[in-house]
Amino acid sequence: MRLDRTLVVAKKTLRSLRHDRRTVAFVVLVPLLMIALFGYTFGGELKDVKVSIVDLDQGVLGNSLGKAISNDLANSSTLMIMEHYGPGQANASKADAAIGQVKDGKVWAAVVFEEGFSASVLEAIFNMTHGLPVEQAPIKVYLDSSNPNIAQAVSQEVQAAMQRVLVNQYHLVSPIVLDSEQVYGKGAEFIDFFAPGVMGLAAMMVTFMLSIVSFVHERSSFTLERVLTSPISEGEFVAGYALAFGLVGLAQSLVILTTAVLLFDVRIVGSPILVLLVIFLLAVGMQGLGFLLSSRAKSEFQAIQFLPLVLFPSILLAGVFWPLEAVPALLRPISNFIPLTYAVDACRSIMIRGWGIEKVWPSMLILTLFAAAMLALSAYGLKKRG
């Protein structure tokens, strides 16, 4: 194996890219667009969810819990109160109207406090303190659950408002308190979780695509044949391409890391160099896979058809946007065969947990083995002449 010939192939590949401005734009802008879009859409918190409140609660001795909870909800930045019918204005027809608004899609939820709400709560508190059977007082929430995220946010807001009012007015605190200490990821936001995932995904997608298209072109234009009559070995040729696309993957990761840090304040607790190394290994492996699959495609058009086959399982099952624990048990074994799973896990551990190579080496070893296997198979595939 001679390094000079490997470098010649790498140089040629990078030069080809340099002359193709659209591809350069693709390589740089795709990851930029991905991190920016994902960052702004996924990273944002829910705000101004439209809700209507119908408060029929009569209160007890001039003290209305319904009113207190309604006021608390009105201060929430998550919710935007569209209609608020307080006692006096509210009646059964207003409740029906609010439910109608949910049905018409004008609001996401209608929160209804029944007439005897405060009385029921006080009775429950009395019974609780006197060891009598307790009947819980309901707050009726009519939810449009067509968007589970929004539905969950509304329920949580109502729940939280309820707790706050009970604490403030009746000093009712739970005897149990959750005392959690964040071992890792103190102050981490959702974008900190998925930035490493998007980085791996972008590197994987672009290197795989460039590789498969480049090799189909090498074959269909017979440049590969010509190259193989020269003294270069199959291994040197494949390694040259791997080096070039590995560097492309690195460049992309730098774009993503910089954007994530500057735009979204993503923190990198561990070593950025180690993160880049992980991405390099992933890019080399995906380049090899692209090479192998390219031998099954007769044209660039056929080659592109492999993209969704490789991309979708990686997006869905590699833990990019949701944890592997959320992947159904039946599909989880597939996750173990997706290289991106290990790259994302390693990058996340380095960036959020601050882990070093002494802890992420198993993932890196798997990525190295994957890359080595892909390169060896590619070189073997070239050697096997018809």
């Binding site: 010939r5 040629k12 234009s221 017979f222 010509r226 009559t229």
Partner: protein, 244 residues
């Protein structure tokens, strides 16, 4: 290797594909400094024979030797140049970058690459286009770049598969003059063509049909043997004898 021995030699070379024998019992001996033309119609096995000899395909039977080494070559690959039938160069590189790449594959020392690139570009008359992208060149110019890439490492043995297909007559004449020039410098050239009229410029012509070598000799001897005035008629005569 013995300098007097054949530079290229095949014995009983055979290449089969499912349902097709592309090359059958091919025995070739090409001496150093020979301009050898493999001629025959499309599908006669010329390209397959070349591909087996340069090591791009594995022979189904028989053997081939280049510069005394059995194919596929290990040690002598740098002494061989190959120009495929298709213009196999990189369209998204400049002319110079293509040449630098192929020179690099043959481990030509860096300082030498520049001068060698200039030399071959002068030969194919493309010095003024060296920094242009190949994709922006005309078909004839690309042919010239392709030839230059096969020559950049100054090979001893050249395999040129249909080097004159699709190029204008003026350029074709230039190419033949250049082949003669290379030959006079001791290079061995094997080329394929289906233009019988130009094969007359070769030292030795091998006529292929249905994967077999049906006749071999100097153009004049082949015409004499058949009593025909041109190679095309001579070919048809030999082909007729085979069928008969």
């Amino acid at each position: 290797m013995d300098d007097d021995g054949p530079v290229i030699e095949t014995k009983g070379l055979r290449k089969e594909f499912p349902g097709l024998v592309a090359v059958d019992s091919l025995d070739l001996r090409v001496a150093r400094g020979t301009l050898y033309g493999l001629i025959g119609p499309n599908g006669s096995g010329k390209t397959t024979a070349i591909k087996v000899i340069v090591g791009l395909m594995r022979a189904s039977a028989g053997e081939a030797r280049v510069l005394g080494e059995r194919v596929p070559l290990r040690t002598n690959r740098h002494r061989l140049g190959y120009m495929p039938q298709d213009i196999a160069i990189y369209p998204d590189l400049t002319v110079r970058e293509n040449l630098e790449f192929f020179a690099g594959l043959y481990s030509i020392p860096k300082p030498r690459i520049g001068s060698r690139t200039e030399e071959v570009l002068k030969v194919v008359d493309l010095l003024d286009r060296k920094d242009g992208l190949v994709s922006q060149l005309s078909g004839g110019m690309r042919h010239r770049v392709s030839l230059a890439c096969a020559l950049v490492h100054d090979p001893e043995v050249l395999f040129l598969d249909e080097p004159t297909v699709g190029i204008d007559p003026e350029l074709r004449v230039g190419f033949w003059r250049f082949f003669q020039d290379l030959k006079s410098k001791g290079k061995t050239i094997v080329l394929t063509t289906h233009y019988m009229d130009e094969a007359v410029r070769c030292d030795v012509v091998g006529m292929m049909r249905g994967g077999r070598l049906i006749a071999e000799g100097t153009p004049s001897s082949l015409m004499t043997q058949t009593g025909r005035g041109n190679l095309e008629d001579a070919f048809l005569e030999f082909a007729g004898r085979v069928v008969a």
